[in-house]
């Protein structure tokens, strides 16, 4: 069958700048470890790629427990970016990851612009890293994180610095905790980003009423899961209309239809986060659903779906 054969199986491949993914399904940062943790449960080669847990220069211990609490259709977390540091990742994880034949996207963190750039530089030099996601939106650290992602000037500066430090595709991850996400998407585009990830978690607070303390040791946390999906789809739609670079939609995806909402809203690819915890093999189901949808709707490839929302007026 040739690619133009009308009976050919629809193509799920997508392009994010210079990065080609075999399908638009990525495992989100902080929900799949460094990939290896889930490799015995998910065939990583069936994924478009994985995004690593956030990496700083050095290893970090993260927050005290409790670090997670369930809320209605949501998960509140304050892990605090516990991690092994970029060097340990490059040395001891990356070589083993390569056998799995999936795109590896490093989630780059820093307390300063210089640290972001240095982590990006180290990640870019290592063989087998395919792209960098810049985490300017973690709500659970006291320095950096969300502070960068809720100020358009700082967003611009971090992205520009990483852009200079790396030739890999640079994908800033937007914070949803802002009045107008398009301002931040544009700042990223202007700073040379190849795409944006949309979105990180929403700042939330859950209280144990008996002790009158927050349920998380850190206090506030980041809300994820199906609860936030309508908000994340809205932001994806807004961002996609504001910039020309591709959008990776994230937030509460739990089924093929959820992924389709993001794609139709304007995303080119999507990430599955919280659902990895309870449904580690969810990708097969989503992929089958996407294929079925393309076939039923007579679409040759999934990129044709991106941004096809018929918005009223």
């Amino acid at each position: 069958m040739t690619p133009d054969d009308p009976a050919a199986a629809p193509s799920l491949g997508v392009r994010i700048g210079a990065l080609t993914l075999k399908n638009p399904l990525l495992a989100a940062s902080g929900t799949c470890g460094y990939g290896l943790e889930i490799a015995h449960l998910v065939d990583l080669s069936t994924l478009g790629g994985i995004v690593t847990k956030g990496l700083y220069l050095a290893a970090r211990d993260g927050c005290e427990v409790p670090r997670i609490a369930e809320t209605p259709a949501g998960l509140l977390n304050a892990i605090g970016l516990q991690g092994i540091g970029i060097r340990a990742f490059v040395e001891s994880v990356l070589p083993r990851l390569q056998a799995h034949n999936t795109a590896v996207i490093v989630n780059v963190c820093g307390e300063t612009i210089e640290e972001y750039a240095e982590v990006a530089r180290l990640a870019s030099q290592a063989p087998g890293v395919h792209a960098l996601e810049i985490n300017i939106s973690c709500p659970n650290v006291k320095t950096g994180g969300i502070a960068f992602g809720t100020d358009p000037v700082m967003t611009h500066d971090v992205v520009a610095a990483v852009r200079r430090a790396s030739r890999l595709p640079v994908i800033p991850k937007l914070s949803p905790n802002v009045t107008d996400i398009t301002v931040f998407a544009r700042a990223c585009e202007e700073a040379g980003a190849d795409a944006v990830s949309c979105v990180n978690t929403f700042l939330g607070l859950a209280i144990d009423v008996e002790s009158r303390k927050p349920k998380l040791a850190f206090g506030t946390g980041g809300l994820s899961g199906p609860a936030i999906r309508p908000l994340a789809v809205r932001m994806t739609w807004q961002a996609a209309r504001a910039v020309k670079i591709p959008i990776i939609g994230i937030g509460g995806i739990a089924a093929a239809n959820d992924a389709l909402e993001f794609l139709i809203a304007g995303a080119t690819a999507v990430q599955v986060g919280t659902l990895n915890f309870s449904r580690p093999n969810i990708y097969a189901e989503i992929e089958a659903g996407l294929r079925d949808y393309l076939t039923r709707h007579d679409l040759k490839n999934i990129q044709a779906l991106s941004g096809t929302l018929q918005y009223p007026r």
Binding site: G30, T31, C32, G33, E37, I38, H40, L41, K53, D61, G62, V65, P66, R67, I68, E70, P72, A73, G74, L75, N77, I79, Q82, G225, P226, T274, L275, N276, F277, S278, R279, P280, N281
Partner: protein, 275 residues
């Protein structure tokens, strides 16, 4: 029933084949799951009803018994909150998502070691399975404590299995009155050979047992009970502070993959104190 060796975990949508109420919030639930039916004592599974409403995460439950011949395993469950209640409410024939076997179980004692197990609340569950692999000589013994007689729902089942038991309750309604460590301490000095301790239950109880072990230099394993989000090392919600021998300071380690069973000397307890 046959016990076999643990293998890699698998996620299965599997049927509840048997449900036995033990009164109150307690029940024994038997599922069909081949991989988990080969679990080792101390391993656990992450379980969620197929239809789980607005609860996203599964809950961890120790494997209380297995039968690799029929591919079944049993958990001893106490309904405490929404997640465990949802599993408790399953009826025979309904399905659940079960991922397991997970974690590292108890290490086997040396041939000469007398095994002393200390179980509190639902923490007694793994010792039912563990007892099946222990040889009667040297003898093993299980101390089982709870708040009251009603909180010792597994006694009959443990007796049926011929496990040597000492019971205690905080209010004295069954067995010795007081903490489970009451009858434990004198028992450690009676009998032949060296002792090996295993504890699973409320944190305060395990902390106390770890203290007793440290004082007497008895090897001791504890099965920690942090809140778990995934069971596979990805959420980092379940970390416990562990001081590894070669390392400068304690580190946050996921209990799901590096435990739940730990050498009690390595555990840095939130309460502080000896261990």
């Amino acid at each position: 029933m046959t016990v076999a060796s643990g293998g890699p975990p698998l996620d299965r949508l599997c049927a509840l084949v048997k449900r036995e109420s033990l009164g109150g919030a307690y029940a024994l639930l038997t599922f069909e799951h081949e991989e988990v039916s080969r679990a080792l004592a101390g391993q656990f599974a992450m379980i969620q009803p197929e239809i789980s409403g607005d609860l996203l995460l599964r809950r961890p439950f120790s494997i209380m018994d297995v039968d690799s011949a029929t591919g079944r395993f049993t958990i001893f469950l106490k309904a405490v909150g929404a997640g465990s209640k949802a599993v408790f409410d399953l009826r025979a024939g309904e399905r659940a998502r079960v991922l397991g076997p997970l974690g590292h179980g108890f290490s086997l004692p040396a041939a000469s070691e007398r095994v002393v197990m200390v179980g509190g609340g639902y923490g007694v569950a793994p010792f039912a399975l563990f007892s099946r692999v222990l040889k009667p000589s040297p003898p093993f013994h299980l101390f089982y404590g709870g708040r009251s007689a009603a909180e010792l729902p597994l006694v009959r089942e443990l007796e049926r299995r011929g496990i040597p038991l000492t019971l205690s309750t905080d209010d004295g309604t069954r067995g010795e009155k007081g903490r489970v460590t009451g009858p434990l301490v004198p028992a450690l000095s009676v009998g032949e050979g060296t002792v090996r301790l295993y504890a699973c239950g409320p944190e305060a109880m395990m902390h106390a047992v770890a203290g007793i072990a440290a004082e007497r230099e008895i090897p001791c394993e504890v099965s920690l009970d942090p809140w778990m989000g995934c069971g596979i090392g990805t959420c980092l919600g379940c970390v416990v502070k562990i001081q590894e021998p070669g390392e400068g300071r304690p580190r946050n380690r996921p209990a799901c993959t590096e435990g739940p069973v730990f050498d009690s000397r390595r555990v840095i307890w939130p309460q502080g104190g000896p261990a």
